[in-house]
């Protein structure tokens, strides 16, 4: 569905039509989930934060002003919640800071797609993961990603191409 459609859905939601929430959810859940997963690297925890993200987005829906893409807006909420959770756990020493491997937790997956996701997370740096997921899963343009990550558009394009090359070499 095009950008205009999601903007129309969000406008309806802001007008009180809760029925459109499902459509908005299904259009954004992948990019929201993986934006959280990149930070927390834990399936169950990411699921919980994902739930919190949507509830917070709903609560703050009237603050969305359409200057940025809606996906950028909700990803920002997701990342902030994930970072807060990460910091909280770090303070409580619930995570091993030296742990570099990502944890599957109780994620269900087929062997093939698990291998690909594993490679993405092993081979790519954090920023590369983020750009890849926002562009491929979130369907955000490089310009929108640049705004979201506060980096020049040329940098984003370069990071993306570098990431794709790494994955091509690995897969």
């Amino acid at each position: 569905m095009a950008d205009r459609d999601i903007n129309a859905l969000v406008k309806q939601l802001q007008n009180g039509d809760i029925e459109v929430f499902d459509d908005i959810y299904y259009q954004t859940k992948n990019v929201v989930y993986y934006s959280i997963f990149i930070i927390l690297k834990d399936c169950q925890l990411s699921e919980d934060i994902m739930q919190d993200t949507y509830l917070k987005a709903l609560n703050k829906i009237h603050t969305y002003k359409r200057k940025a893409h809606f996906k950028s807006w909700i990803v920002t909420i997701a990342k902030n919640l994930a970072i807060n959770e990460f910091n909280r756990r770090k303070r409580e020493m619930l995570i091993d800071l030296s742990e570099q491997e990502y944890m599957l937790g109780s994620c269900a997956s087929t062997a093939e797609n698990e291998v690909l996701i594993t490679q993405i997370f092993k081979v790519l740096s954090d920023i590369e993961k983020e750009v890849i997921l926002l562009h491929i899963i979130g369907d955000l343009k490089h310009r929108e990603i640049a705004k979201l990550l506060d980096k020049p558009i040329g940098t984003i394009t370069w990071i993306y191409n570098k990431a794709i090359k790494k994955l091509k070499d690995e897969v």
Binding site: K11, Q12, L13, Q14, N15, G16, D17, I18, E19, F21, D22, Y25, Y26, K29, N30, Y33, Y34, C43, E47, M50, Q51, Y54, L55, L58, N59, I61, H62, C107, A108, S109, T110, E112, N113, E114, L116, I117, I120, I132, L133, I136, I137, I164, L167, K168, V171
Partner: protein
């Protein structure tokens, strides 16, 4: 593997692995759209920017007052639609078939139109979805072997537009009602062959009795068939019941087996 294949595989893999938490979200007590609250002035302006903004607004106000004396343009109503179940609702559309306003004609219509929903700017299809859903929630759409009868009327200066909207409404209403495993017949009421003065009189009578013109025309047909019926007696009945009365007047019952209410032939379109 080329770039496109990688993109496709990543999308596919991520799509499969993303958990679905929609039900958990909806089961939360926080799952609702908050009422938009007015923000205080301090949320918008610092004092300095507020001063500049005020000055700009003041100058613009003077200019606008001097240059523009006519009232601001309001959306032009291109078509008016009425939908009668027993709730009676009027929908006005602009040239692009977007909703300008949705008005309840009677008390039952007030029940169906939620004050929290802003219909303005919605498509006609979405508006009908909401209206039928609300009518069903409040028990105005029945799920028995008896048909729901919904009366529609489209008023537009363009005959092609009238016909298109009638067809669109008929299909959409039927689809929406069928979602509740309910039977439905959609009846289209056209403008009668009357003079402009007579039509004006009909509109006024309908307005005074808080019914639509379409419902009034149906009631008139019943009264013509049997003048013991009165407008006051019939105006609050659901459309389904009015068509049943009309059918019985046109097809007097010889024995109980012919009574439509006992499972005989339902009222036909225009009968």
């Amino acid at each position: 593997m080329n770039k496109h294949n990688i993109k496709f595989k990543i999308k596919e893999s991520c799509n499969e692995r993303t958990p679905d938490v929609l039900n958990k979200i909806k089961n939360s007590s926080e799952f609702r759209v908050p009422v938009k609250t007015k923000r205080s002035l301090s949320d918008y302006f610092s004092f300095k920017s507020f001063s500049y903004s005020l000055a700009t607004v003041f100058i613009l106000a003077i200019l606008v007052t001097l240059v523009f004396t006519s009232k601001p343009a309001t959306p032009v109503v291109a078509s008016t639609i009425t939908v009668d179940i027993n709730p009676s609702i009027e929908i006005t559309l602009d040239d692009d078939d977007y909703v300008i306003n949705v008005t309840a004609i009677n008390d039952e219509g007030e029940e169906v139109i939620s004050r929290d929903i802003k219909f303005r700017g919605l498509t006609l299809d979405r508006t009908i979805e909401i209206i039928i859903q609300k009518a069903h929630e409040r028990g105005y759409i029945i799920e028995t072997i008896e048909e729901n009868v919904i009366l529609i009327r489209v008023d537009s200066n363009n005959a092609a537009v009238t016909e298109r909207l009638e067809s669109q409404l008929e299909t959409k209403i039927a689809n929406e009602v069928n979602k509740y495993a309910a039977l439905v017949r959609v009846i289209k009421e056209r403008n009668p062959n009357v003079t402009d003065e007579q039509l004006e009189s009909l509109i006024n009578t309908a307005k005074n009795n808080r019914i639509t013109v379409a419902k009034l025309l149906l009631i008139r047909k019943i009264i013509i068939l049997d003048n013991t019926h009165t407008l006051d007696e019939l105006k609050d009945l659901p459309i389904r019941e009015l068509y049943r009365i009309k059918y019985l007047l046109l097809h007097p019952i010889d024995n109980e087996e012919d009574d439509p209410g006992n499972g005989g032939d339902p009222p036909g379109n225009g009968n």
